[in-house]
Symmetry: C2
Subunit: 326 residues, 2 copies
């Protein structure tokens, strides 16, 4: 099985590549090769028993060889994230829309249609704090990132209907706890308020304790991606997008979990006001009915405390090393 | 008021241009100039008291001057229609998506954001014969045309939110009775079964008498476009798309109206089978709850018999002349 990860240099792409290297198989089939693609050639995972090719470039001008003949599975995780797509309209459109078109065109050239797993986002919805959404809810995005993701879902579903590929789009929740550095996603602070105090660093919190957010852990997201790559999609019909079973938590619960794992860490959090960011994240939905995804075999979420502990286990030491923290 | 009609050579664009020429005003404001744009430079309407510029070209490479400085209203009617977008994926994407991006980019350059009236389509929905849709229904298109229109709505709504324009997207019903020649829309036969017999010509009918279709007349569509160009949009929020109040009719009712207007005309209709076309049009919705559009001042539809009589009055003689029928 030949696999490509677009956005293979991102934190989720790296975790996915590491998992494939560790398992050596996907859905019971041996992995025979892996291509990693990102803006700059991503590092190969350690210990892979299969050849890994790393390629850097522009998604919208997808270089030959990124989705080579014989590719069976493409993980399309490459994106310009929310706050950046809002700040730079042209860049967001280029990567999130033209880039997705380039993926479609590369898949069209293959002799047999590959499975494509696309990471869409709950930012493709409006809704806000006080509604429960489901897979039948109309997507009315409050930002350019969400609009571009919703449009990409449409193009990929259509490409799937036409037989160019077989897509499964997952509208990922806000992922906590992201390792590494804060990024340009408007949702970055949801991870920072756990990660930074665990690193002994101060961090800003622009919303109140009762602010709710729909989240998933990196471990759970990787499990979902692997499931989407091999699941039976024959019953999905024309709607190829899913809201996987994340969980709705509020800031107070997140801070309590942090306090359980590291007593006193909460003192490193500074309450601030950021109306522009608040306006954007307030349009995002905070709760979903995920019956459809559960019915299609997507695994339920582990408790919040496990999420914080998994970050300590999986990512705290690497993040410290990356950021030069003793 | 400076106005541009993209797709100004299409039958709806021509009717709209004729109406502006006749009225000399839009929403009570004097029309000071009109630009018509299409693949080839469209003919200017007769009797206009304002200068008309006709430009031909590729929408995706929108020439300078199509949306000149000072433009207040852009009617974006240009599209590759349903059956053609299904047959030629690249062309549909180029015109329906890249073309819409080009319109957004032209509007961004203007000193003040113009009103943009975009014709989306009910083909952006799935649903089929037996459901009633409304403005909250999720768009799950069954063809590339519908997917491209739904995505264009997302991009235009986002451009509107960003302040590049102020868009109103109308998901037009199937328009009956289209004048002129049969076109490449999968919906073409809904007009042909009225138009061709009135011209004394045989025509094919690929669905049964009880097949329902959501329709609007050219006269009603022009009224809606004019209303969308000048209505107060301040209460629309992020969702800038509307299902205007068309009407649900079945084939039997259409044939009865034809028979009332021209006795014996129905004998010119040949019942045929066309499974591919049937599959596509069967995914289109046939009934809508249009409370939102009605609340925003979009006018109710006239009876079906009036639609057939208006075709005879407005378009039968010009269509005969165009097609060389005595």
């Amino acid at each position: 099985m030949n696999i490509t990860i677009l956005g293979g240099g991102g934190f989720l792409g790296r975790k996915l590549a590491n998992r494939l290297a560790k398992d050596g198989t996907l859905g019971g089939t041996r992995v025979s090769s892996l291509v990693l693609f990102d803006l700059t050639a991503p590092p190969a995972p350690e210990g892979a028993a299969f050849p890994v090719t790393s390629i850097g470039g522009d998604l919208a001008e997808l270089p030959d060889g990124v989705i080579p003949p014989g590719t069976s599975v493409v993980f399309h995780l490459a994106a310009v994230v929310s706050a950046q797509a809002e700040a730079d309209y042209d860049l967001g459109r280029r990567v999130n829309v033209r880039g997705t078109d380039a993926v479609i065109d590369a898949c069209r050239k293959l002799a047999s249609p590959p499975r494509v797993v696309f990471t869409s986002s709950i930012a493709s919805y409006g809704g806000g704090q006080n509604v429960v959404l489901n897979d039948s809810t109309k997507q009315i995005p409050g930002g350019s990132y969400g609009a571009q993701k919703a449009a990409a879902e449409l193009f990929l579903s259509d490409a799937s209907r036409r037989g160019f590929m077989e897509v499964v789009s997952l509208r990922l929740p806000t992922i906590i706890v992201r390792p590494g550095r804060p990024n340009k996603a408007a949702s970055s602070f949801f991870s920072s308020i756990i990660r930074e105090p665990l690193l002994g660093l101060q961090t800003d919190l622009p919303v109140g304790d009762d602010f709710k957010v729909w989240v998933a852990s990196p471990r759970r997201a990787v499990e979902w991606l692997l499931h989407a790559a091999t699941m039976d999609t024959s019953g999905m019909g024309l709607d190829r997008s899913l809201n996987p079973p994340g969980m709705s938590v509020n800031i107070g619960q997140m801070l309590a979990a942090l306090e359980t794992v590291r007593q006193g860490a909460g003192t490193l959090i500074n309450r601030i006001s950021d109306p522009a960011l608040m306006k954007l994240v307030s349009t995002w939905p905070a709760q979903f009915d995920t019956a459809r995804a559960s019915g299609l075999g997507f695994s339920a979420h582990e408790p919040l405390l496990d999420v914080v502990r998994a970050f300590v286990e999986d990512d705290l030491a690497p993040t410290k090393a990356e950021r030069g923290i003793a």
